[in-house]
Amino acid sequence: MSEQDGKNNLSEVLLFCLNSLYGNRFRQEMQNDLKSAMDTVIKTLSALKSVALNSYQNSFLPFTPFRKDD
């Protein structure tokens, strides 16, 4: 399977999940918009994955153990 096929597949899988979870809230005419919104998510993921990160590159969200009296 090519990378592009994989992305298309992910889009279809997510759309399937979306309809499985919430399909009873959607009308047929919303499907094109939902697919378009899902495609935006897939393109966004793809762009994020195009940048290499090393495992030491952390986010700005350090965990701090909590003490109420601190």
Partner: protein, 466 residues
């Protein structure tokens, strides 16, 4: 009183109040009257706070008469975006019909701080429902109707601080408080031809403000001038134990902050993202700025800036509104697309959100390095002028237009100010933004103030409103 206070700056009004040429009660009545008479024309107002405003105005008048001065905002009326909690039975609607009667029993810290500074709240101002986080793509996305632009009644005032932009533009209030996650202060400031300041993340407490994105939301002023923005920020900035994300770094507005020459930077190709009039007026502005400092091109690393902030927004919005979405309450929203688009963000993977946060750190470090070489980055405030009502508009959040400076500025949590830079051939305002290093609001305000000293765009007001 023969003076007309409409479209006077806070600084000018403050002097007139201090010298008793204008009384806070008279001033408040003038703006209450404008809000009632003119406000509906622009769908700018949710609630007019007449009783509270007049009580506060009488209190200010007594204090000023007895020689007590609370500072430059004492006796000045203002409006607040309707996502800031207000007590006393004044609803806080978040722009959504399902919250139209919801009241809080406390005030947002910003509201409290402005009261302590002597400012008078005259109105809660209209906004895009839930601050635009549900995926709206056209202006009619608030239960108060589409925000209408005072420069052209067939155009949108921008979002999500729609009422804040149009109210300042139409002279309904001397200043307003808005909020920005990605574009919600600079957008209305650009579209309405007013000055809007987005402070550093954590500079202003978000306690009592609707949460859209915990790591991105900022609160800031929309005013007539950069100087006024400095005066308002001075009153609302500061650490707040009720908001652990507020910074302990203090801010004091310095109106004498001066730098010559400024070192302006332009991100390579950033102006190409803007449409004709936005780009043309930006290029014109460069001629003015070249008198104030040096201008050098800046090359940024090739990173997916828009995509990083989009992913963070999708994930944080879907978490902040998880119950609202799961319970199907989005069906009660005004914009049809807001009733189903949010579901598409409910299946974001945690690892992808965390990747976006890790990339955000790269952006923060890269952009901070840029500010060792330049004082401020400049660019068009938005990619477009005010869109037409009744039509879909391009949106960086939806991915059909790029907004690199907005993405970088909000990702890095750094301050920016938008000031008017001219008009399109259709008579629509355009804006230029000054983006600065974290916690250097005095620098971005000084740059914008210097630009406004050289230009008169900020002195232009829609015809028939003076």
């Amino acid at each position: 009183m023969s003076l007309n206070p409409v479209f006077m700056t806070i600084r000018s009004l403050g002097k007139l109040i201090k010298t008793k040429q204008i009384s806070p009660v008279e001033l408040t009545k003038i703006f209450l009257n404008r809000l009632q008479e003119i406000g509906p024309k622009y769908n700018a107002v949710v609630t007019i706070c007449s009783d509270l405003a007049l009580d506060q105005a009488r209190q200010s008048e007594k204090e000023i008469a007895s020689g007590q001065c609370r500072g430059p905002l004492h006796g000045i009326p203002y409006g607040a975006k309707d996502l800031l909690a207000t007590s006393g039975g004044i609803p806080t609607t978040w722009g959504a019909a399902c919250f139209r009667d919801r009241c809080f029993e406390y005030d947002a810290t910003v509201i409290r701080k402005l009261r302590e500074a002597g400012a008078i709240i005259v109105a809660k101002l209209a906004m895009i429902e839930l601050a635009g986080g549900m995926g709206y793509r056209q202006p009619n996305a608030s239960f108060t109707g589409a925000g209408i632009n005072p420069w052209d009644l067939n155009r949108w005032s921008g979002g999500s601080s729609s009422g804040a932009g149009s109210a300042v533009c139409a002279g309904l209030v001397p200043f307003a408080i808005g909020s920005e996650t990605w574009g919600s202060i600079l957008g209305p400031a650009n579209h309405c031809g007013v000055t809007g300041l987005r402070p550093t993340y954590g500079r202003v407490s978000r306690f009592g403000a609707m949460t859209l994105c915990w790591t991105l939301d900022k609160i800031g002023p929309l005013c007539l001038t950069a100087d006024d923005c400095g005066l308002v920020l001075d009153a609302i900035a500061g650490f707040d134990s009720m908001d652990p994300t507020t910074s302990k770094k203090t801010f004091r507005y310095d109106p004498s902050f001066f730098r010559r020459p400024f070192r302006f930077g332009i991100i390579r190709n950033v102006a190409d993202e803007a449409e004709g009039a936005m780009r043309k007026n930006f290029e014109n502005a460069l001629q003015t700025l070249s008198k104030l400092g040096t201008i050098e091109e800046v090359i940024l690393p090739n990173l997916p800036y828009d995509e990083i902030i989009r992913m963070i927004m999708f994930a944080e919005i879907s978490s902040a509104f998880e119950e609202f979405i799961e319970e199907g309450r989005v069906a009660q929203l005004t914009a049809p697309e807001d009733r189903y688009t949010p579901y598409t963000r409910m299946i974001i993977f945690a690892k992808d959100y965390i990747r976006a946060l890790r990339l955000r750190e790269v952006v923060c470090r890269e952009i901070d390095e840029i500010f060792t070489k330049v004082d401020v980055l400049i660019g068009p405030s938005r990619p477009t002028c005010a869109p037409k009502l009744g039509e879909d508009f391009p949106s960086a959040l939806r991915g059909n237009i790029k907004d690199t400076m907005g993405a970088i500025g909000n990702l890095a949590g750094i301050p920016a100010i938008s000031v008017p830079s001219g008009f399109s051939a259709e008579g629509l305002p355009t804006g230029i933004q000054f983006l600065g290093r974290a916690y250097e609001e005095n620098m971005v305000i000084a740059a914008a103030r210097a630009y406004q000293d050289e230009t008169e765009w900020h002195l232009c007001h829609p015809p028939g409103l003076t």
